[in-house]
C-alpha cells in the first residue's frame, strides 16, 4: 500500500509539468491536423470554405483554430523559456529547421511585398530580409523560443489573416504573370493546409520537449503524414475509379440457371437420339463480352481491347522471358565481372529507363516497315517485349544471386556439370523470384499506352475482335491431311490502355461512363497482376528468411 503511494507521488513530482505540456501541445497537434484535414476537404470543394457552420463559416472557423494553434505555440514556447514547463531545449533550433522557416517567411515576405504592397522591383529585398530575420531567430535564439516564435508566428499570422477575412471567401487574387485567378475558396484551404502542417510540426516538437527528442517527434509527424498521404492517394485513385466505373462496367449483366441439353448422341443399332440434360449456368456480361456497338443501341463493350491486351502480353512474355532469364543466367553463372558485363548492365538499365514513347518511335521506324508495313499486333508484342526485357533481366538476376552458393557447390561436388546444375538446381531455386518479377513486369507493360499507340492500334472504337486465330485443327483430304489454324499477328488491334486514350481523344461528352468503365477494367487487370506479384514476393521473402 505504502509502496503504491510512493510511486504515485514520485510520478507526480517528476512528470507534473511534462504532462501539462504534453496535454496542451498534444491538443494543438490534433487541432493542426484537424485544420489540415478540413483544408483538404475545402480545397476539393467537398466542404467549401464559405459553408455556414454554427452561425459562422468554415473559413472563419479555420482562421480561429489556426490563430489558437499559433498563439498556443508561442505561449508554450514562452512558458518553456520561462522554465514553467519541463523541457530540454537545445541552444539553437538547428540549421535545417532554420532554413525551412526562413524559406517559409521568404515566401510570405515576397508575396506581401509584391502583391499587397505592390513593390514590383523591391520585393526580393523585402522577402530576403523577412526570411533572413526568421531564419536568424530560429538559428540564434534558444530552441524553445526561436522555433516557436518563427514557426508559431507564421501559423498565428495565417490564422489572423483568415479570421479577419483579409483572405476570406470573397477575396480574390489575380496575379499578372500567371493565368489563374485565386479566390478565397481556394486560397483559404491552401493557407489552412500549409499552416496546419507547420503547426503540427512545431507543436509536435513541443510535445517531444524540444531537444533531440522534440526534433524527432516533429520530423516523425511530417514523415508519417507523408506516408499516410501516399496511402490516401492510392485509396482515392482506386476508390474514385471504382465508384465511378462500377455502374457502367456492370451494366446489363444477366445470368440464370436453365435446364437444357448437355450433349446428345445416337447409340448404334438404336434408331433414336439420347439427350442428356442438366442445369446450365448462363452468364452474359456485355461490357466485357461485346465490342463497341455499331448500331447505336445496346451497351458498348471493350472485348476487342481485352483480347488485344491479351495477345500483346502473351507475345511480349514469350519474347522477353527466355531472353531475359537467359541473360540473367549468363551474367550470374558464366560471365566474369569485366567490360562485357559492365556494358550489358549499362544497356539493361538504360533500356529500363528509356521512355516508352521512344520505344514506340523505334517500333514505328524499325519494325512496322518490315512487318507488313502496317500497324500490327506483332510489332506491339515485340516492342512491349523490348520493354519487358530489362525488367526480367534485373529481377531474374537478383533472384539468381540470392540462391546460396552451397547449392551450386553441393551439385558440383556430386560431379554434375555446370549446365546440368543450373537446369536442375539453380533455376528451380530461383523460380519464385523470377516469376514474381515477370508478373510485375506484365503489370507494367499491360498498362503501357504510348508504344502500342504508335505501332499496333488503328481504329479507336472497334466493334470486332481481331481474329488472331482463324479456324481450328481439322483433318483435310489433301496432303498433309491436317490443317493448323491460321495465326495472323500482322493486323491492327485495340488494347485496354489505348481504348481509354481513344475515348479521351474522341471527346468524353456522352462517352464519360464508358471511359470510367474502361478505366476500371484496365485498373483491375493491371492491379491484379501487381497484387499477385507483390503478395507472392512478400510470401517468398518471408519463407526465405525463416
Amino acid at each position: 500500500m505504502s509502496l503504491g503511494t510512493d510511486v504515485e507521488s514520485s510520478d507526480a513530482l517528476v512528470t507534473g509539468d511534462a504532462s501539462t505540456r504534453e496535454l496542451v501541445s498534444g491538443g494543438l497537434v490534433a487541432l493542426s491536423f484537424a485544420s489540415f484535414a478540413v483544408g483538404l476537404l475545402a480545397l476539393f470543394q467537398y466542404l467549401p470554405a464559405d459553408t455556414p457552420v454554427a452561425g459562422t463559416t468554415v473559413s472563419t472557423l479555420l482562421g480561429g483554430v489556426l490563430t489558437l494553434v499559433g498563439a498556443g505555440t508561442v505561449a508554450l514556447g514562452a512558458a518553456s523559456y520561462g522554465d514553467l514547463l519541463e523541457t530540454s531545449p537545445g541552444h539553437t533550433g538547428g540549421l535545417a529547421s532554420a532554413a525551412f522557416v526562413g524559406l517559409l517567411w521568404f515566401g510570405v515576405g515576397g508575396l506581401v511585398a509584391a502583391q499587397t504592397l505592390g513593390l514590383s522591383l523591391l520585393w526580393p529585398v523585402v522577402a530576403l530580409a523577412v526570411g533572413g530575420v526568421a531564419a536568424a531567430v530560429a538559428l540564434v535564439a534558444r530552441e524553445d523560443l526561436g522555433i516557436t516564435l518563427s514557426a508559431g508566428l507564421f501559423v498565428l499570422l495565417s490564422g489572423l489573416v483568415v479570421l479577419t477575412g483579409a483572405v476570406g471567401p470573397g477575396w480574390q487574387w489575380d496575379p499578372s504573370t500567371l493565368s489563374i485567378v485565386v479566390t478565397g475558396l481556394v486560397g483559404v484551404p491552401v493557407i489552412a493546409l500549409f499552416a496546419g502542417l507547420i503547426g503540427a510540426w512545431t507543436t509536435a516538437r513541443v510535445y517531444g520537449g524540444f531537444g533531440a527528442q522534440g526534433r524527432q517527434t516533429g520530423a516523425y509527424v511530417l514523415v508519417g503524414t507523408n506516408a499516410a498521404g501516399m496511402l490516401a492517394l492510392l485509396a482515392s485513385v482506386v476508390g474514385f475509379i471504382a465508384v465511378r466505373g462500377f455502374a457502367p462496367m456492370t451494366e446489363g449483366i444477366k445470368y440464370g440457371l436453365f435446364w437444357g441439353p448437355w450433349t446428345w448422341f445416337n447409340p448404334p443399332l438404336v434408331d433414336t437420339w439420347v439427350v442428356v440434360e442438366g442445369p446450365i449456368l448462363w452468364f452474359y456480361w456485355p461490357f466485357v463480352m461485346e465490342g463497341y456497338s455499331t448500331t447505336g443501341g445496346g451497351i458498348d463493350g471493350i472485348l476487342p481491347a481485352i483480347v488485344g491486351t491479351f495477345w500483346l502480353v502473351v507475345g511480349a512474355v514469350l519474347f522477353a522471358v527466355p531472353l531475359g532469364v537467359g541473360a540473367a543466367v549468363f551474367l550470374t553463372e558464366y560471365a566474369e565481372q569485366g567490360r562485357f558485363t559492365f556494358l550489358v548492365e549499362i544497356s539493361t538499365n538504360g533500356l529500363w529507363s528509356t521512355p516508352s514513347i521512344v520505344y514506340g518511335l523505334f517500333g514505328l521506324a524499325f519494325l512496322v516497315p518490315r512487318l507488313g508495313n502496317t500497324n500490327s499486333i506483332l510489332a506491339g508484342q515485340l516492342v512491349l517485349g523490348f520493354m519487358l526485357l530489362p525488367l526480367v533481366v534485373i529481377t531474374a538476376r537478383e533472384s539468381l544471386k540470392s540462391v546460396p552458393d552451397e547449392y551450386r557447390d553441393a551439385s558440383a561436388a556430386l560431379g554434375v556439370s555446370k549446365w546440368e546444375t543450373i537446369k536442375s538446381v539453380v533455376l528451380p531455386a530461383s523460380l519464385p523470384g523470377v516469376i514474381t518479377g515477370i508478373i510485375l513486369g506484365i503489370g507494367r507493360i499491360a498498362g503501357e499506352t504510348a508504344p502500342i499507340l504508335l505501332v499496333t492500334t488503328s481504329s479507336p472504337f472497334p466493334s470486332e475482335v481481331a481474329g488472331v486465330i482463324e479456324g481450328g485443327f481439322r483433318f483435310t483430304s489433301a496432303f498433309p491431311f491436317v490443317a493448323v489454324p491460321d495465326i495472323n499477328l500482322v493486323q491492327s488491334s485495340s488494347a485496354l490502355p489505348y481504348q481509354l486514350f481513344a475515348v479521351i481523344g474522341a471527346g468524353l461528352g456522352e462517352n464519360i461512363d464508358f471511359a470510367w468503365g474502361t478505366a476500371l477494367v484496365l485498373l483491375l487487370v493491371v492491379m491484379s497482376f501487381y497484387a499477385v506479384g507483390v503478395t507472392s514476393r512478400v510470401y517468398f521473402r518471408r519463407k526465405l528468411n525463416q
Binding site: 506516408a227 531475359g324 541473360a327 514506340g360 499506352t449 507483390v534
Partner: protein
C-alpha cells in the same frame, strides 16, 4: 589477346557451335534489316542448327545460347540508337541549330519550320515541378519505410507504394483530364484546358514510387553497424537517420532521385492527355499555369499526321529525350556504383 587467338584457344566443339551459330544468327538479323521475307527461313536454320548442336554437346550449346541472349539488351539498345539517329538526320540537316535555338515560328508544318524550343521548355518546367513533388516526398517515404515505420506500417505502406507504381499512366492522365483540369477551370478560372502545373504535379506523383523504392533500397543497404554505433553514442533514431544513415546513403538516394527525374522526363500519356499541346511557349514564359507541349506529348499527338520533315522532327524530339534520359540513367548508375564500393569497403 586478339579475337583470333582467343578463338583458337577454345576446344573444337565450342568453336564449331559458336562459330556457325554466330554466323547464322548474324545472317538472320541482317536479313531482317534488308530482306525481312528471308528472316523466317534463316531463323529456322538457326533453330535447327542449335537444336542439333544441343543434342550433341549440351554444355557448350547452352553456354553459347545464354551468351546470345545476353547480347540482346545491348543489341536492342544499339538498334534503338541507330534508328532514332537515322530518322532524325534529315531534319537536323535541314534545320541545323534552329532545332534547339529557334524563335517564333517554332513549329509550322506549312512552311516546314521546326524548332523544339517549346517542347524542351515544356519538358523542363513539368520535370522541375515533378521533381519538387517527387524528390522530397519520395525520400521522406523511403526514410519512413526503411527507418521509422513500425512493422505493421511497413507491411502496409511498402506494398501500397508498389501498387501505386502499377497504376497505368493513362489512368493518371484520365483523372488529370477529367477531374484536375476541370477543377483548375472552375475554381481557379484557368482560361485554357490543361496546364503545365497540373501535368507536372501528376507526373511527380507518378515518379514518386520509383524514388521511394530505389531510395529505400539505398537506405536499407547502409550497414547496421554504422547505425548501431550512433545509437550506442546516445543519438536518437532521427539523429541517427539524419547524421549517419542519410549521409552514408546519399549517393544511393540521389541516384533514386535521378531515376525519378528520368521517369518524369519520359512520361508520355499523362502529358499528352492533360496538356493542350499547343506548339508555342507560354506567355509570359514563367506562367506555370500556361499551356505548351512536351517532347513526349509532341510525338504522341503528332505521329499520326506526320510525314517527311515533320516525321523526322518527331524523331529529333525522340533523340533529345533519349539522350537526356540515358544521361540520367548512366549518371545514377555511376553514383550507385560509387556508393557500393564505398560501403562495401567500410564493411
Amino acid at each position: 589477346m586478339s579475337v583470333a587467338t582467343r578463338f583458337a584457344g577454345l576446344d573444337r566443339n565450342t568453336r564449331v557451335v559458336s562459330g556457325v551459330g554466330t554466323v547464322l544468327l548474324t545472317l538472320t538479323i541482317l536479313s531482317f534489316l534488308v530482306a525481312p521475307a528471308l528472316t523466317g527461313y534463316l531463323a529456322l536454320a538457326f533453330a535447327v542448327f542449335v537444336g542439333g548442336a544441343y543434342l550433341v554437346d549440351e554444355e557448350n550449346t547452352a553456354r553459347f545460347l545464354l551468351f546470345v541472349t545476353t547480347t540482346s539488351t545491348v543489341l536492342i539498345l544499339a538498334f534503338i540508337t541507330v534508328y532514332l539517329l537515322l530518322n532524325a538526320f534529315p531534319v537536323v540537316r535541314e534545320m541545323g541549330l534552329y532545332l534547339l535555338v529557334g524563335s517564333d515560328p517554332f513549329w509550322n508544318t506549312g512552311s516546314n519550320v521546326y524548332s523544339l524550343v517549346p517542347m524542351v521548355w515544356g519538358t523542363l518546367v513539368t520535370t522541375i515541378i515533378a521533381t519538387l513533388v517527387a524528390a522530397p516526398l519520395g525520400v521522406a517515404g523511403a526514410v519512413f519505410i526503411s527507418e521509422i515505420a513500425p512493422g505493421w506500417a511497413r507491411e502496409v505502406v511498402k506494398p501500397a507504394v508498389e501498387m501505386l507504381a502499377g497504376i497505368p499512366s493513362i489512368v493518371y492522365g484520365f483523372i488529370g483530364f477529367t477531374l484536375l483540369n476541370q477543377f483548375m477551370q472552375q475554381e481557379l478560372s484557368l482560361p485554357t484546358f490543361g496546364s503545365l502545373f497540373v501535368t507536372g504535379v501528376v507526373i511527380g506523383v507518378m515518379a514518386l514510387p520509383t524514388v521511394v523504392s530505389v531510395g529505400e533500397d539505398a537506405i536499407a543497404s547502409v550497414p547496421d553497424a554504422m547505425k548501431n554505433g550512433a545509437g550506442a553514442l546516445g543519438a536518437t533514431d532521427w539523429q541517427t537517420t539524419t547524421s549517419v544513415t542519410l549521409p552514408a546513403a546519399f549517393s544511393g538516394v540521389s541516384a533514386a532521385v535521378l531515376l525519378g527525374v528520368g521517369r518524369a522526363v519520359g512520361e508520355t500519356m499523362a502529358a499528352t492527355v492533360i496538356l493542350g499541346n499547343v506548339t508555342d511557349l507560354p506567355d509570359p514564359l514563367i506562367d506555370v499555369f500556361g499551356n505548351t507541349i512536351t517532347l513526349t506529348s509532341l510525338i504522341a499527338s503528332q505521329y499520326g499526321a506526320a510525314s517527311g520533315l515533320q516525321f523526322s522532327a518527331l524523331f529529333a524530339a525522340g533523340v533529345v529525350l533519349f539522350v537526356t534520359v540515358m544521361g540520367f540513367s548512366v549518371g545514377s548508375q555511376l553514383i550507385e556504383r560509387r556508393m557500393q564500393s564505398r560501403l562495401g569497403g567500410e564493411q
